[in-house]
């Protein structure tokens, strides 16, 4: 394994043992508490361990997802694992589901009406599907008059996208349409000065 001193070796082995029996990602906080070591040290050892697995070329990985560490099969071995699991092909999300999820992820907490105004369609059915799959949940109530339900994303959502936290989402600024798109839209919806041959 890695080059480590004695305390570190024992701690790393304990981390391996615990994460191996866990059924969901194990938070570094909990590991620190159980192993009576500083959280910073746990974080460092987990990161080193994860890198050591990759370097050794194992068929599994230890990754940080949804705020904790877990073992998972390496993506490169997916064809074999899928053959083994039979039902390993996971359901792909529809475009509507992905768009709604994108809006909730970046704008949370927000209401159904706010989602509708961005997508231009009632998100009712899609929201229900996302809730049923556990990607989205009711996180609060709007303080205003109707006390609308406000939605946010879940740990399952982070796991689905393989993200550790919402901070790992790419910055929204990089998706704002470029000048070419803006120009095209402006031109498409221009009001004045019809070109003489614009027809209609």
């Amino acid at each position: 394994m890695m080059e480590l001193n004695e305390i570190d070796t024992e701690t790393v082995r304990a981390i391996e043992a615990i994460v191996m029996v866990a059924v969901e990602p194990v938070a570094p906080d909990l590991l620190a508490q159980l192993l009576e070591q500083p959280k910073a040290m746990i974080e460092r050892l987990c990161a080193e361990l994860s890198a050591a697995y990759d370097e050794a070329g194992h068929g599994f990985q230890m990754v940080k997802v949804a705020g904790g560490y877990r073992y998972q099969s390496h993506a490169e071995l997916a064809p074999y694992v899928e053959r083994f699991l039979l039902d390993g092909q996971r359901a792909r999300m529809s475009g509507a589901a992905l768009e709604t999820l994108a809006i909730v992820a970046y704008k949370q907490p927000l209401s159904r009406a706010q989602i509708a105004s961005i997508r231009g369609v009632d998100p009712d059915g899609v929201l229900r599907t996302l809730q049923a799959r556990g990607y989205v949940t009711e996180v609060a109530r709007d303080a205003g008059p109707g006390q609308a339900i406000l939605y946010g994303t879940t740990a399952t959502f982070l796991e689905k996208l393989g993200l550790n936290s919402l901070a790992d989402l790419p910055p929204i600024a990089q998706f704002v349409p470029g000048a070419d798109v803006v120009e095209a839209l402006e031109f498409g919806l221009r009001i004045d000065v019809p070109a003489p041959d614009a027809g209609g």
Binding site: R92, L98, A105, G120, G162, V181, R190
Partner: protein, 259 residues
């Protein structure tokens, strides 16, 4: 149950509009608002076989588009109210902003899709502790009441609503805009002036109302009626200006909606 229905291609009005405008992006100066509006309306017509709520949402945007188009067709009018003019610009800017926001999240959705695809290639370990730890695990039934078991059973055997296209509320009405145009050119010359509300008072299905509205827009485009709405959400007055001679429906050229 209300159901998110997408047209075969488009998820919503912004989706459609973005497509219509941006597909010409290679040479944006080829983009014609007229063509966009026509194709947009054609798409709405196709929607009549799908979901009413969605059709309504498409229609709201259609109203703005038609207004933009109407303004463009009459560039030199002097009697344009400055307030109306400003309101139209505001509406256009709002539509533009919403399109940009929609486009932003569509692009994010693409990234999410790739992230999820990547993540789906790794499978988490879920085996849990082996039997050596059976005695360590706390009693899972601690605090569970018989009532909870009973409720769990009922939950388990109650069929989950299967998500499928709910055709119940999609009326078997196949009213087309062309048919509605035919009815209107028969009816309107006889009544001369009528409110939209009265014109549609005999219709039961919202879909039929929407189709009539589209037919009116078509006749407006053809210049045989005038539409007037004094205040927002107020009555819409329909005035026949096509003369007293009976007009054959076939002579009203319906745009080629094949786009």
């Amino acid at each position: 149950m209300a159901f998110a229905v997408a047209t075969p291609v488009f998820e919503g009005p912004f989706d459609l509009l973005l497509h219509l405008i941006l597909r010409e992006q290679v040479d944006i100066y080829e983009v014609s608002l007229t063509r966009i509006v026509d194709e947009y309306l054609a798409e709405i017509e196709r929607l009549q076989v799908v979901d009413l709520d969605v059709a309504t949402e498409f229609l709201l945007i259609a109203a703005t588009l038609v207004e933009l188009k109407a303004r463009r067709l009459l560039p030199g009018r002097d009697d344009v109210d400055l307030d109306d003019e400003l309101a139209l610009w505001e509406e256009r800017d709002l539509l533009l902003a919403r399109l940009l926001e929609c486009k932003t999240f569509k692009d994010v959705a693409g990234v999410f899709s790739r992230l999820a695809d990547d993540a789906d290639r790794s499978f988490p370990r879920t085996a849990g502790p082996d039997e050596r730890f059976d005695d360590v695990m706390p009693d899972l039934l601690e605090g569970t009441t018989v009532k909870r078991v009973q409720a769990a059973y009922v939950r388990a055997v109650t069929p989950k609503p299967v998500e499928r296209i709910d055709l119940f509320h999609v009326a078997p009405v196949r009213a087309s805009v062309a048919d509605a145009v035919a009815e209107l050119v028969d009816e309107l010359p006889r009544v001369g002036r009528i409110t939209f509300r009265r014109l549609t008072s005999g219709l039961v299905e919202r879909l039929e109302v929407i189709v009539r509205f589209l037919a009116l827009l078509e006749l407006f485009k053809q210049g045989v009626i005038e539409l007037d709405q004094v205040e927002q959400f107020g009555e819409i007055d329909v005035l026949w200006t096509g003369g007293l001679e009976p007009v054959a429906a076939g002579s009203i050229a319906i745009d080629d909606y094949e786009g």
